[in-house]
C-alpha cells in the first residue's frame, strides 16, 4: 500500500469521493502547468541535457498522481481504498511488464551478435 500513501502528495480533495468545482479547477490548473512544464523541458533550453529525461519522467508521474487524485478521486479514504489497492496491484504488474520487457530485449540486443557478423568471423 506504499503507492497509495504517495497519493497524499497530490492532495486529498474530497472525503465523499466526488470532488467539487474547486477541486476540478485545481486539478485542471495543476495539469495545465505540469503539461506546460513537460513541453518546456524538451522544447526550450531551460533544463540541461543530462537532466531532461529525469525531469520529463518526474513531471509525467506527478501529473498522473494529480489527475488520479483530482479527477478520478483516488485516495486512501474508506470509499476509495479498494480502488486504490486494485490500482496499486495493476501498477506493480505494469512496472514488471514494461521494465522487464525493456530489460530483457535490451540485453538480447547487446548480447546477440548479428548473424552477418558471425558468418564473417567464421
Amino acid at each position: 500500500m506504499n503507492s497509495s500513501s504517495t497519493h497524499s502528495v497530490a492532495g486529498q480533495p474530497q472525503a465523499d469521493g466526488h470532488g467539487d468545482m474547486k477541486s476540478y479547477f485545481v486539478g485542471f490548473a495543476l495539469s495545465l502547468a505540469l503539461t506546460a512544464a513537460s513541453f518546456a523541458t524538451i522544447m526550450s533550453d531551460i533544463v540541461p541535457h543530462s537532466w531532461r529525461l529525469g525531469s520529463m519522467v518526474a513531471l509525467c508521474v506527478i501529473q498522473l498522481l494529480v489527475q488520479l487524485a483530482y479527477f478520478l478521486h483516488l485516495g486512501t479514504g474508506k470509499s476509495q481504498a479498494q480502488n486504490t489497492a486494485i490500482f496499486a496491484c495493476t501498477g506493480l504488474l505494469i512496472v514488471i511488464v514494461v521494465a522487464g520487457s525493456l530489460w530483457v530485449m535490451h540485453n538480447a540486443n547487446i548480447n546477440m551478435m548479428p548473424t552477418q557478423a558471425i558468418s564473417q568471423n567464421e
Partner: protein, 200 residues
Amino acid sequence: MSNPSLSATHDSAHHDASSQTTAGFWVYLMSDCLIFAVLFATFGVLVGNTADGPAGRDIFSLPYVAGETALLLLSSFTFGAGMLSARAGRRGPLLAWLVTTALLGAAFVGMELHEFAALVHDGAGPGVSAFLSAYFTLVGTHGLHVTLGILWLGVMLHQAWHYGLDEVVLRRLACLSMFWHFLDLIWICVFTFVYLRAFL
C-alpha cells in the same frame, strides 16, 4: 438495459449496487491499462528499429501535440464539471457540458486523424518500420478509445435527455467519466514517452 422502473428504488441497497458497478468498471479500466502497458512496452522495445525510415524527431511536431493535449485536458475538466451538474440534478447544464466534452473529443480525434493522414502521405505509414508500426498501434488504440468514448457520450446524452437523471443514468455517467479521465491519463504517458522522448 435502461428500464426506467429500476430508478424507482432509492434505498441503500441500490446505492451498494451503484458502487459495486463503479468498482467493477474500475477493474475493467485496470485491465485496459494492462493492454496499454503492453503496447507501451512494445513501443519502447521497437522505438530504435526505424529500418532506414524516419525517426520520431523527423516526423513529430511538438506544438501540434501540445494542441491535442490541451483539447483532451480541457475535455476532462468539462466532463468533471458536467458530473457535478449531474449530481446536483441539473440536466440542462449537464447536457451542455457533455456536448462540449464530445466536441473537444471529436476535435482531438480529428487532429489525430489529420496527423496520421499526413504521416502516411509523407511516406511514414505503419508499414515502413517496426517503430512506425508500434507508433500507429499505440496511438491508434488510444484514438479508438476516445472515439468509442464519444459514441458512449452520445448514448448518455440521449439517455439523460430521455430518462432524466435517475439512479441508472447517474451510474452510467459515473462509469463514462472514469473512462474519459482514464484516457487522459493514458494520453499523458503517450505525449511524454512517445512524442517528447523523441526529442531528448
